[in-house]
Amino acid sequence: MLEISARNARGWTRIGPRAIYGQALTALASADPNIFALSADLGRSSGLDRFSKEYPDQFLNVGIAEQNMVGCAAGLARMGYHVFASTFAPFASMRASEQVRMNMGYMREPVKLVALGSGLSMNYLGNSHFGLEDVAVMRTVPGLTIIAPADCAEIQKTLEACVGYDKPVYIRLTGVPNSPVVYTEDYVFEIGKAVRLTPLREVMLISSGTTVGHCLGAVELLAQAGIEAGVLNMHTIKPLDTDALADIAAKARAIFVIEEHTTVGGLGSAILDHYNDAGLSCPPVFRHGIPDRFVETGDYTFMLKQNRLDAEGIAEVVKERLGRIGADR
């Protein structure tokens, strides 16, 4: 049983999202012989070393062959296995995107495709390894659930929830070791149900993945400047929690969608699509993410700062935008 506490959360974030993934999956496999882990030669990069040694009959490294991995995962899922297939985000979502579409979309095989190192978290490896478009691509696959856990506790919650979830899921892991902790006590995680991390406020930040932690940091900075802002963790990017969005539309004065992803087709686009299509009257919705270009590469902290996706940057963006609304009025 997962025990979320401040102490455990500190320990988990030191291990980091990728290693927590492997560790959590190994723990789940100890109770479930139907769990099957596939890797496209990134087992060591995702904490699956121990899994492969302890459960060799439930593990396969298909080699550097992501398309093959997704197809094979679908076949294993058809055989009743709970399949978790992992590789870096661009290879999962783009190299193999048509396999995802056919096998997980068209055939609805309930594979859990785990995108490691998404967003900017691959550091100096550069844009070839960044996952800045994966949500946009995966969103177009009908019936595919997309989840981006906010911290290491939520990664574990996500995996637990996915084992018994009979639908295909794209799980997007962002962040690095020591990314901000969001949860220090237990909470209810339900696929498709956003988590409000603060009371509903006039300025609401909606985010997913490890950016949520930076949004919480931004809220503290904004409070110091006299701006009361709140945070909604939209961990499930598809399907969106439309009830939570309706609540925010009804009460907020400004909505910011913060994402470690291109603003083209990401969470911000999804939310705008929803508000528009549902005909909801809502306050201004500002999207803040990676601009439509390849980013200048550096370490993770540098890139978050460059793109104003750390707490300070997010707070600045919110202040600037709010100032502009004020000026317009």
């Binding site: 080699g63 398309q67 093959n68 197809g71 094979c72 679908a74 055989m79 056919m102 068209y106």
Partner: protein, 287 residues
């Protein structure tokens, strides 16, 4: 044409009926269909479904069944004709082919209750899926097998070779690829494998047990399937040399019939061509 159920027919008569059913269904739907590649695999599929595959048409989701994947999904019409003759569904149901809302469109859409185990159409994907199932069967210690039908044109897809390599590495003796090598792809000859690169050799190079057969020779096909079953530690590729459009002389090796519409006049010609078993036996194989 009157379609006869094949249960009590000789092999050649059964194949003839399948071809008639393909032609008639293509004609009745009034639209262009993938005829050439449907006709080239008739003997392969008839042998498989009649004598090799463990399956129960009246209990299509029988837990112990073998699995057939039509990776060359565009030839679904040929597969449907065989499934109908095997008793998976009625002639009336087949008659819904290419009608609005039908289960049966140009490419397979997964529906195990009708004998269709996977969705295909995007070439080069069936082998990975079949490999996953074969691996699952082995890990679950099930005595079941997976057969994946592919085209030689399909083998242009790089994803085929990703799965071919892994299937060999995994020593999946319960996986058999059937390559319907009719030598023609959409635009004409499959020149990729018509020169220095020999398709059967590529499969050999990937470590597969390769059996080359005349894909219209019943005995040879059956022997190949038996050999595949005997190879427990290596997957087998049955590279079948076939004639695209086989059985209708003016369609044979004529790529106008890769995807085309059968008009009333053409249908009459087909009926005449398919009139006797002698006609069927006349074609030269691609090999």
């Amino acid at each position: 044409m009157e379609i006869i159920r094949t249960a009590n027919l000789s092999f050649s008569a059964s194949c003839l009926e399948t071809r008639r059913l393909i032609i008639e269904t293509a004609f009745k739907c009034g639209q262009a269909t993938h005829i050439g590649g449907s006709l080239s695999m008739v003997e392969l599929l008839t042998t498989l479904y009649s004598e090799v595959l463990a399956h129960r048409p009246h209990e299509p989701e029988w837990a112990d069944r073998d699995i057939f994947i039509l990776s060359k999904g565009h030839s679904f019409l040929g597969h449907l004709a065989v499934l109908q003759q095997q008793g998976y569904f009625s002639a009336e149901k087949l008659g819904t082919y290419l009608t609005n809302g039908s289960d049966f469109i140009a490419h397979p859409v997964k529906k195990p209750a009708l004998g269709v185990e996977s969705s295909n159409g995007s070439l080069g994907q069936g082998l990975s899926f079949g490999m996953g199932m074969a691996l699952g069967m082995r890990r679950r210690r099930q005595d079941r097998r997976v057969y994946v039908m592919m085209g030689d044109g399909e083998c242009n897809e790089g994803s085929v070779w990703e799965s071919a390599a892994t299937a060999c590495e995994l020593a999946l003796g319960n996986l058999t690829a059937i390559v319907d090598e009719n030598g023609l792809r959409n635009d004409g000859p499959n020149t990729t494998y018509a020169g220095r690169v020999v398709l059967a050799n590529v499969w050999r190079a990937f470590g597969w047990n390769v059996v080359e057969v005349d894909g219209h020779d019943h005995e040879a096909i059956l022997a190949a399937f038996h050999e595949a079953r005997g190879k427990t530690e290596v997957p087998t590729a049955i590279v079948a040399h076939t004639v695209k459009g086989k059985g209708v002389p003016f369609m044979e090796n004529n790529n106008d019939w890769h995807h085309n519409r059968i008009t009333a006049n053409v249908f009459e010609e087909c009926v005449k061509a398919l009139g006797s078993e002698k006609t069927i036996a006349s074609g030269e194989t691609h090999a």
